[in-house]
Amino acid sequence: MQIQPILAALRKHRLATMLIALEIALACAVLCNASSMIADRLSAMRIQSGVDEAALATVQLTGYTPAQAADVDARAITALRSVPGVQSATLVNSIPFGMRRGTAGITTDAAGQHFGGVIEFYVGGPGSLQALGAQIIAGRAPQADDFHAFTGLMPETASIQITQALAEHLWPGANPLGKEIWLDKWHFRVVGVLKDLVRPDPQGWTAEQREWSVFVPAAPGPYLTGSYLLRADPKDLPRVMRDALLAVGKAVPEVVIDREDSHTLPDLRHEVFRQDRSMAGLLIGVIVALLGVTAFGIVGLASFWVAQRRKQIGIRRALGATRADILHYFQTENFLIVTFGIVLGIILAIGINLALMKFFEVPRLPLWYLPVGVIVLWALGQLAVLVPALRASNVPPVVATRSV
């Protein structure tokens, strides 16, 4: 295929060529950045919680005083355990993807000099860590005598389980077992390492920080109350949840069931990522519409060029050009324009990404998105130009003899 004559023709249609190229450039920039943002949102949504979400649900009670806690918990837990299908009902302050009650900054020394980051304290009663299903990969699980009564936020001292992500952050490369963390007057010793245990609110944190959690064993009492974790067969879970709410409503009619926060964990997870899901959906919608509009633009202009050059095409055909020659002419022309647009588009994509990183804390655009975007746009251009190009190749040579 000879490129020289195509370039000569394009030079005569500089304005239209520039328009298509600019459109492609913008499309390329938006496509690459939007895809990267979609991937970012989807990866946030796919986070491993480290707990058996499908088997878990929570019931949250409020509206009573610490003095009433023992009585309310006793009645509520009895009612929950009597619901058919409930395998366990335990107490834990924070719920993955749900209520957040133990977020605080820690230090790795008693004097409070070495800040270790803001982490989540899951303060749970006996059986709650097993109920969560968090996997212990080193050290030990809490034992019966680890659960101490307390007032305020949590026990002043305890033997805790820590996630491996947090351990690696606090003591890179070292064995975390036996290490200690401090928070004001509180002081904890690590006795076990958890594979994963996500924060209640992972979407507000960086990928590294999303699993900075510890499990603090504590005895239920005035300050560990009303936040129940239910475990049931995943198939039964929705029914168990409904029955549990009814049972609790009957057992403790004087307190308030926090219905907004009492859900199964799959429902809570769905809710937590609502915003990410809608943003990803919107971005996908924009990409589809964008590719559509760009394709229509190419179809429109290519059709116009074909119509404008009918006579020239006829002459070429009469002089011996085959249909394939004509087809390839328009395909090559489109390829050249799109390539020109893509070169501009890649520069624009990187520039926009830098601006987004600065103002919107969007992650860096992975470079392999660029070649993928390029291929998508080349394919789109070729697809869009196919119909007008075929129409051009069908121009009969006899056109050349008319109205010269």
């Binding site: 499309a27 007032t151 004001d184 007057k185 915003q275 924009v286 633009g297 116009f304």
Partner: protein, 439 residues
């Protein structure tokens, strides 16, 4: 002449339906996307107290130990400073606010107990923020001083508990205390819930919650603190409080103060006043730092980046998309006009000026824009419906108002005229002789 051009434009649009449909669709989709996001932006970024926000200020002092914060005083005040500043009565109006959740029961109804947001505040809150009343009125300053057991409730709560009827004088049980209803608010939906805005810098752009509804129960400040003791939320603490929720003497910040200062001179005076307060507290040994700050309402909202990051991102995205649609339309209009080169050549040969040809082409572009605007308006309504379906905290605010309705058409026509200008210029430059030769 315009009527004639309009007629010509209509004929031309009918002649090549495919091209027309493509152009109208491109404009409609671009306008629909950008107007949806623009409408959400417009609803979320307005002034919540028009005409008054410049006189509403947010004084800040800092009781935290040195090194606890960076970049100015903490977002809210400790109890002691807040009450001291309020008690000095140096402003035209002043309101303390503290937030908590309270258990609410209405004796005489069989509704289960509710957990609702409660605002403990002082009587100036209502006139200062122009809060509308359906029934009754705010409590009096003497109720503040006497710690009276009275409350003002939202229209939502009045609907829920009393079917929207006049409930003045009825009793409400807040936690374990009975309060008398002295006022019922009319529908009041500030956007954002400006007086509760704080900590926006730490929200990572996820600030949708600033647009939630206002509280359902309002009580005098000290009454609320007594009634709902143990349930107050701290903003932050420099030591963990021994007794969570009981914050009066805790090393925590949790009370906000808003003041109204009706002139610039008064604002200057108030700045001096809080600076001298901080100095005095440092001398007394209670403060370790004397930094103070006082922003007005809009500055404070700005400082807290109230507009959700995703909303801003969507707006940029929509306008990038509109730009693509614009390029697209330029290309298609160019094709359309130049295809009629022969016709234009004849018009020019018969005496039409370049300007006349230009005007004719622009009329056609404008008509495309107008039709695209109608489509864009419909798509905007669909877009807003989709936004509401995502149930952000501000979903009940999302609607198209009159100004945005007009903006839709102005934007659509402006975009199409912009898109049409270059092709129209090209068309008006067509040399008549060359075209006539090929006819």
């Amino acid at each position: 002449m315009f009527g004639y051009y309009l007629d010509l434009a209509l004929r031309s649009l009918k002649r090549n339906r495919l091209l027309t449909v493509l152009m109208v669709l491109a404009i409609a989709i671009g306008i629909g996307a950008s107007m949806t996001t623009l409408t959400v932006m417009h609803l979320l970024s307005g002034d919540p107290l028009p005409g008054k926000s410049a006189n509403i200020f947010y004084p800040q002092v800092d009781a935290s130990p040195k090194g606890f914060t960076k970049g100015g005083p903490l977002d809210v005040l400790d109890y002691r400073s807040a009450v001291d500043l309020w008690g000095a009565h140096r402003a035209d109006r002043q309101a303390l606010i503290a937030n908590s959740d309270v258990k609410v029961r209405a004796p005489g109804t069989n509704l289960p107990p509710l957990m609702l947001h409660m605002l403990a505040t002082t009587s100036d809150f209502f006139p200062m923020f122009k809060v509308p009343f359906e029934y009754g009125s705010a409590w009096t300053p003497s109720d503040d001083a006497d710690r009276a057991r009275v409350a003002v409730i939202s229209s939502d709560l009045n609907d829920k508990l009393f079917g929207g009827k006049d409930s003045l004088g009825k009793t409400l049980r807040l936690k374990d205390s009975d309060v008398r209803i002295v006022g019922v608010l009319a529908r009041w939906r500030p956007s954002p819930l400006f007086y509760d805005v704080r900590g926006g810098r730490f929200a990572n752009g996820d600030t949708g919650d600033f647009y939630r509804r206002s509280e359902d129960v309002f009580t005098p400040f000290q009454s609320g603190l007594e009634i709902n003791a143990g349930n107050f939320w701290q903003f932050t603490c420099w030591h963990m409080p021994d007794n969570p929720g009981h914050l009066k003497n805790a090393p925590c910040v949790w009370v906000a103060l808003w003041v109204e200062l009706d002139s610039a001179a008064k604002a200057t005076d108030y700045r001096t006043f809080i600076a001298s307060y901080a100095e005095q507290q440092k001398v007394l040994g209670r403060f370790t730092q004397t930094e103070t700050r006082m922003m007005n309402l809009m500055q404070w909202l700005d400082y807290n980046h109230v507009l959700p990051r995703d909303v801003k991102l969507q707006t940029w995205l929509a306008f990038a998309f509109l730009a693509i649609c614009l390029f697209n339309t330029v290309g298609l209009l160019l094709a359309k006009f130049l295809r009629r080169a022969g016709e234009i050549g004849v018009r020019r040969a018969l005496g039409a000026s370049r300007r006349a040809v230009f005007a004719q082409c622009l009329t056609e572009a404008g008509l495309v824009g107008f039709i695209g605007g109608v489509g864009g308006w419909v798509l905007t309504l669909v877009g807003l419906w989709l936004v509401r379906r995502q149930q952000p905290p501000y979903s009940d605010l999302v609607h198209m108002d009159v100004s945005m309705f007009f903006v839709t058409f102005v934007l659509a026509v402006a975009v199409s005229l912009l898109a049409g200008a270059l092709p129209a210029l090209r068309a008006s430059r067509i040399a008549p002789a060359l075209q006539l030769k090929t006819l």
